[in-house]
């Protein structure tokens, strides 16, 4: 029982501190060795995750007759078959697997990313409908103004004085307000990361003991 409780804890603390010393000292051989180990373990974990995804959908296909799971399983099998056919290819992804990327992954991801414009538009409308108020109004007004000013800046139809005014507006918003906001968010996220990581390194948080 003691081993069950304290073995993972001692491993996390000792290897975490060793990596921290290796990175901060800097002792390159130690840190690179441990990072290589982590890389290899993550690779194995990813493969196990993919196999788990495969088995879950295979079960769903045979128990629930889920057509979509069947499509997922078939597409995975197709890529594995292409990888086997590529065989001794020296590149990370052989010709067959690269074709799957060019023909399927790239167009699908590009289409999904371009669909984001519509999702954002709908989200904007929903924001006004569900939470009408000064903050929602400010948010949408700023977004609309920035879009309009960017579009007008390229049009060259505006008189010079208006263009100068537009440039100043964009400068104030982008180079002062947005820089401050982003800086605040980044510093906040970094402080949160440091605190959470230190809690893990001293054993106060144990996300691995489940």
């Amino acid at each position: 029982m003691i081993l069950k409780r304290y073995l993972p804890l001692s491993i996390a603390i000792s290897f975490g501190l060793l990596t921290l010393i290796g990175l901060l000292a800097p002792l390159a051989p130690i840190s690179s060795l441990l990072l290589n180990w982590a890389g290899l373990l993550l690779a194995v974990a990813l493969i196990l995750g993919v196999l788990n995804l495969f088995s879950v959908h295979l079960k769903r296909l045979f128990s629930g007759r889920d057509v979509y799971s069947g499509i997922l399983v078939l597409s995975m099998l197709a890529v594995f078959a292409l990888a086997l056919l590529d065989g001794g290819s020296s590149t990370s992804a052989g010709d067959g697997v690269r074709t799957a990327f060019t023909w399927i992954i790239f167009p699908l991801e590009a289409a999904l990313a371009s669909l984001l414009a519509f999702f954002l538009l709908f989200a904007g409308f929903r924001l006004v409908r569900r939470q009408p108020g000064r903050w929602s109004l400010l948010f949408l007004l700023t977004a609309a103004l920035m879009l309009a000013s960017s579009a007008l800046a390229f049009s060259q139809l505006l008189p010079d004085q208006v263009s100068v005014l537009l440039d100043q507006f964009q400068h104030v918003v982008n180079d002062i307000i947005v820089v401050s906001g982003m800086r605040g968010i980044l510093i906040g996220v970094a402080l949160g990361t440091v605190v959470l990581s230190i809690r893990v390194l001293v054993g106060l948080d144990r996300p691995y003991s489940q």
Partner: protein, 211 residues
């Protein structure tokens, strides 16, 4: 029919499947999403297998007495322990591997956050003039204070912030709202550019084929 045309047709049909979501959630969209998940997961597994796992096995085959091989056997052994997580009785042994990953990840996160974000953000000034730099510093502090939720209970039992903090938080909230709005507009215009690019790509390719 050459392979280029097949690839173009496959890409076009899958793109149409995705855009069909604009009408409503439908089976064509779901088919496309399941294909994307399946192919992407298998693609990632194949690349990781060839780039990370296979070199270790190649090293084993090439020179089984190599000292480096002995060191790389330790993570392989730990990786095998991960498999034990499938067996409830001995699943805790697999936790050792997860603990190792968590410990190393936490150490990397601390170092990355300090050297990659905190130090550069705190040490480098922003803005063209000293006045702009001061304004940015003050607004940054206001934005940070927006995330502080420490307060007191008033006589009615409601949670309230200290008086001095309220105006600071108001400015911070203003800054954050404008920042998120600008990010929103940037993502929106990028997405629109991508949409125009995709339509232009297919129009060009098909008109090239016809001509």
């Amino acid at each position: 029919m050459n392979s280029e045309l097949i690839g173009l047709l496959v890409g076009f049909i899958l793109t149409l499947f995705i855009y069909s979501y604009l009408i409503k959630d439908n089976p064509l969209y779901r088919i496309a999403i399941h294909i994307l998940v399946g192919v992407s997961a298998a693609f990632a597994a194949v690349v990781v297998m060839k780039e990370v796992i296979q070199p270790v096995f190649d090293m084993m085959r090439h020179d089984p007495t190599d000292a480096d091989l002995l060191i790389s056997m330790i993570p392989m052994l730990l990786a095998l322990l991960l498999l034990l997580k499938r067996l409830p009785a001995v699943a805790w042994i697999g936790n050792s591997t997860v603990a190792l990953l968590t410990g190393i990840g936490a150490a990397v996160a601390v170092t990355g956050a300090i050297t990659g974000t905190l130090w550069p953000q705190l040490s480098r000034s922003a803005g063209g003039t000293p006045v702009e730099g001061m304004v940015i510093a003050v607004l940054t502090v206001c934005a940070l204070f927006t995330f502080q939720f420490t307060g007191k209970l008033d006589k009615q039992g409601d949670w309230v912030r200290p008086v001095w903090q309220r105006s600071v938080v108001l400015i911070g909230r203003l800054v954050l709202t404008i920042t998120f709005a600008v990010l929103f507009s940037t993502v929106f215009s990028t997405s629109l550019t991508l949409l125009a690019d995709r339509i232009g790509y297919f129009v060009d390719q098909f008109s090239g084929l016809v001509s």
